[in-house]
Subunit: 311 residues, 2 copies
């Protein structure tokens, strides 16, 4: 649907509303009166409602005008706020990074990767402060690509042309079950086991969701989700309270959030995604950044072996 009025028209409308005069509105906006007339006429035509009952001597808003007023104000305010917000943010890209390392990381791997990596990092003598951008995978990729983060740990959501992905380990999609759930007794699950189960799925549009939808399509299972959530920690909270069964990456299992949950793998198909280091091409690394990266690599070797042992 094409919008045939613009913000200037709304401006004129609100000026007339406030002054009850085309003449005074024109003064206010530094326009001629005839320009005001035309803008109002245009709006009236586009919106299909008379906005002002007017004589040469008096201007009265119609009911339609009164109903439009709040909307017009909201639209103009939205546009102004957008303009200001966009301008502010183009200013904000000045960083001071002398003693801070900014690491973007998907939250499911924080618990297992970060503390040991930090231990490594600190015992190597680095005192840098860590700004941790604990984001969803696509946000991690963005943060790295835009130079907001020094490096990232994530799955490949979208590989930006200026970034480099170094795989560290594979992260499998598993089912998180309440302890006493019927399926908790199975060794492994098939996707069709989920047919009659209340499900908690990752939000649409995420890589994990795509994987799950795909696996279900392949096994001719239809996902009957009852809850969609953005965060796997939220999913685990709901599972912990016995609410439903969640599908999420195994790396979530290493978190203290996962206490009390039972994790089960899937077969036919088993689906997983590589988790790795994401760095930006051509960026000189400070010694602290390099050291933290190395520490994450070493830490992830422990995860990888833990995951393989659990398989």
């Amino acid at each position: 649907m094409r919008i045939n009025f613009d913000f200037n028209d709304l401006d004129a409308f609100l000026a007339v509303m406030e002054t009850n005069s085309f003449h005074h509105a024109a003064e206010r906006l530094n326009l001629s009166q005839s320009a005001i007339t035309r803008r109002i006429q245009k709006l009236e035509e586009v919106l299909g409602s008379t906005l002002f009952e007017r004589t040469t001597r008096a201007v009265k808003p119609t009911l339609a005008a009164k109903r439009l007023q709040a909307r017009a104000e909201a639209m103009l305010e939205g546009a102004q706020e957008t303009t200001l917000a966009m301008r502010d943010e183009s200013v904000v890209f000045a960083h001071q990074r002398s003693t801070v390392v900014t690491l973007a990381m998907i939250p499911t791997v924080v618990a297992s990767l970060l503390p040991p990596a930090l231990q490594n990092f600190r015992s190597a003598g680095f005192n840098a402060r860590i700004r941790l951008l604990d984001f969803a995978a696509n946000e991690v990729a963005e943060a790295v690509s835009q130079g907001e983060a020094d490096f990232g740990v994530c799955s490949i959501e979208s590989l930006e042309p200026n970034t480099l992905f170094e795989p560290l380990f594979d992260d499998q999609i598993v089912a998180a079950l309440p302890r006493h759930h019927a399926l908790a007794r199975s060794d492994e699950l098939s996707w069709s086991d989920l047919q009659s189960v209340e499900l908690i799925l990752p939000a649409r549009g995420t890589g994990n969701r795509l994987l799950i939808d795909e696996a279900m399509a392949r096994s001719r299972t239809t996902a009957h989700w009852t809850y969609e959530v953005n965060r796997s920690t939220t999913a685990m909270e709901l599972v912990n309270r016995g609410t439903a069964v969640a599908l999420l990456p195994r790396s979530a299992m290493n978190s203290t959030h996962s206490g009390g949950l039972i994790f089960k793998s899937f077969t036919n198909p088993t689906v997983s995604r590589p988790i790795g280091l994401l760095t930006r091409n051509g960026i000189a690394e400070t010694p602290a950044v390099k050291a933290l990266k190395d520490a994450v690599r070493r830490s992830s070797a422990n995860i990888a072996s833990f995951i393989h042992a659990a398989n």
Copy 2:
């Protein structure tokens, strides 16, 4: 403030966002490709941000573009809704949400609020599916304001003009300590106790961070943060591993994430923020939305009393 872009420009922007191609956007809008280029150039100039990094072969949205997207969609939707509403006296913008309720909620209150609320909701006979937008507070506010969520549960990060906040309980900033931490033996903490402690703070720009910075300023304490994180669940993971002391809202205490942590209040000053229901003005509610809101209200009464008991 004069708005120097119009709805056609936003239209073009969104078409490029969706197609990742000026060429395909042009096809979609029945314009020439050069008209698309010019509209995007105009927007970029007006907003002061590069919206697309582009070569002749590839178009990639910048972070700025991603931030603009929701706003652009909202502005266009607002204009379309206005046009339809003015033309159609029967007004109501038809939300077809009969079987899905979208709830935006800060994650710290998910564990305590949501499962009992869902129990209430289900036992009242509602079978609706729940799309849970477990976002940071400002994102919750945005989701509600933009109509993405039916309602929200959050602190007041920014009160949009079209939203209404109903306080449910106060959420106090507390210290989360590893079990064997020296400060774990104190009954209550003062802010100056943090002077020589490794700190995990919420990210800059969040309401919680502001509260903390303010409290420290008042008590003449300087925050020496070692880690900044976006999510309180991440903070608690780090605390659990003995990494440092985190400052976060008490509502995080009710989560299974908090197992093993010691929570301590602060005096002089005690700082807290109201958590409440956020709804959007003038939106007709489905019975399911209304029921879930009521269920959250009842659930929060339990939180509030639990919190007061813990004081």
